[in-house]
Symmetry: C2
Subunit: 354 residues, 2 copies
Amino acid sequence: MKKFFITALTASLVFGTASAMKPVTISEQGSFMAGGKVITSAGVYNGVNDPKDFSGNTLHGDHAYVFYQIPVKAKKYSLVFLHGYGQSGKSWETTPDGRDGFQNIFLERGYKTFIVDQPRRGRAGQSTEPYTFPAKPDDQLWFNNFRMGQWPNFYDDVAFPRDEESLSQFFHQMTPSFPTEQKVIVDAMIAVFEKSGEGILITHSAGGGSGWMTAIQSDKVKGVIALEPGTFPFPKGELPAVEDTTSPFPAVAQEVSREEFMQLTKIPIVVYFGDNIPTGDKPVANWGFDNWRTRLNLARKWEAVMKKYGGEVEIVYLPDVGIRGNTHFLMADLNNIEVANVMERWLKSKNLDK
Amino acid sequence: MKKFFITALTASLVFGTASAMKPVTISEQGSFMAGGKVITSAGVYNGVNDPKDFSGNTLHGDHAYVFYQIPVKAKKYSLVFLHGYGQSGKSWETTPDGRDGFQNIFLERGYKTFIVDQPRRGRAGQSTEPYTFPAKPDDQLWFNNFRMGQWPNFYDDVAFPRDEESLSQFFHQMTPSFPTEQKVIVDAMIAVFEKSGEGILITHSAGGGSGWMTAIQSDKVKGVIALEPGTFPFPKGELPAVEDTTSPFPAVAQEVSREEFMQLTKIPIVVYFGDNIPTGDKPVANWGFDNWRTRLNLARKWEAVMKKYGGEVEIVYLPDVGIRGNTHFLMADLNNIEVANVMERWLKSKNLDK
């Protein structure tokens, strides 16, 4: 492998943009597949004689793909990034308008980064179960649900670039989500942590649910930063009711055993939500807003249960700490460096930045 | 973006392997989507009011995904890597046994690298046409076709690692290939070169066919290195007959116009084939061998036509230059540094290493 010294910043040769960074040094980069399973077709293998006979053939699927970069003098803990629905590891790379994403921002600060494509997604496309992609146009659903605006209008204060090319890049980076049981993702993520070593799990959106279960099952997960997670785990018997919502995606809590739940109380956890999320117990007409109202409410209920059992958890609504305009894609918004800064301050406060 | 200085080599922290490299400096890394198109569903958009109404929604698909890294003091020309069938950009990254792939090897030598996932593949999964993945086990077909051996046995001299974990990594890195017209890939690749700037196109296997058409249509392609391409373009009226073969994949030439063909004669081209490819015009019983016998024959016929029209082309059977044991995956074999060395000598000989 190799060492990289990341130094002064230049304007991007490819995007023509510029940003400012401090010197950093990295020692190694590469990729690997983690976890997964093997299925075998019926019959006796005969492929040497007849290539059209697939009897006794195998398929290796359901693994995660990981691209990693390790700075020299790296901090102790790896940062392992798990994307959300309709996304791949691309979520954490260059932003739609060509700025540095969290991959580069945290590398520059001396963190080891492990960027995951979850099983059956992106470069981890091989699946042990069949699936169909209908090619059904739905970009506008996500534009609204991700709180960029109400199509075709952006919200006035939104921290997303307004030019056509950035929006095109964003829509193109979406990638099919095929049906995948949470256990398939969690098993692969546990295997990722066996390779990355002890680290912080950083999840986004639908990656949040798998993230909680990974943190429960892997002793390599030393902390969790969840960006607008889709759900939260509650101990059996303590699940809150599902709130009424104008969103097509009700916020449904996940049930875990008391023993599983208690594992989560043993590590520091922080959850961030962006801007434009209404408060209150009543559905609002803007379903893209309401989707996140119910999730922020669920987060507050989860925080209460976590704290009752001794959990070390914070729920941060970014406008409360002076960071405004964020969409659901906190890691790519125009102010993503500010978001990275609050994340890093939290890491420092928990002694996880060593 | 950022600068990397790649320096002395360390043992891999993740894989536990070691290799030796020279210092290199890199200035920028990131990713982008290139090309593609937008489809729109029928009807009038109403998603603000009804999220389940997908009328007038768009889908952005058929683009390529590219991850790039640019060394400081980089050579003039970009290296743009296009993978083959059942693969993604992962082909060029870490090898199945944890050594550096061409991504790292050429970065270390001062080349700008652009690693592509073709449309409807890997992180470029969004497609404007529906597709189905049958999850049909077929690993052994590829093991035989890629000349690793005749399953379950490796060839005695093969330059592929023998341990179970390496083979498992290799099979897991395969990823579904969905039906994609060549034009979709070529259009995206032309857009990739608009971002990468002038460069050398390095193709593998099924990427070869799209590669020739990209080189014909984009004036940014200043040379082509094709690793065991699946096909070759011939001018109308000069296509060779399809040879009989025991392989299920006959080597079929691609027809182009005389004008298109002449574009290819204007740039330097080299084609590499690995080891264990029989000669002659008669099919051999080992279909995995025979598949490549017909392709190497086709390459020789193409070389003759190219030279007739003034083309600057070399076909290199690696054992003829003392490099032995290579499978179809020249870039990942145990001797991949030797393969990189002959490629770089060719680049130098054509003044493409500046």
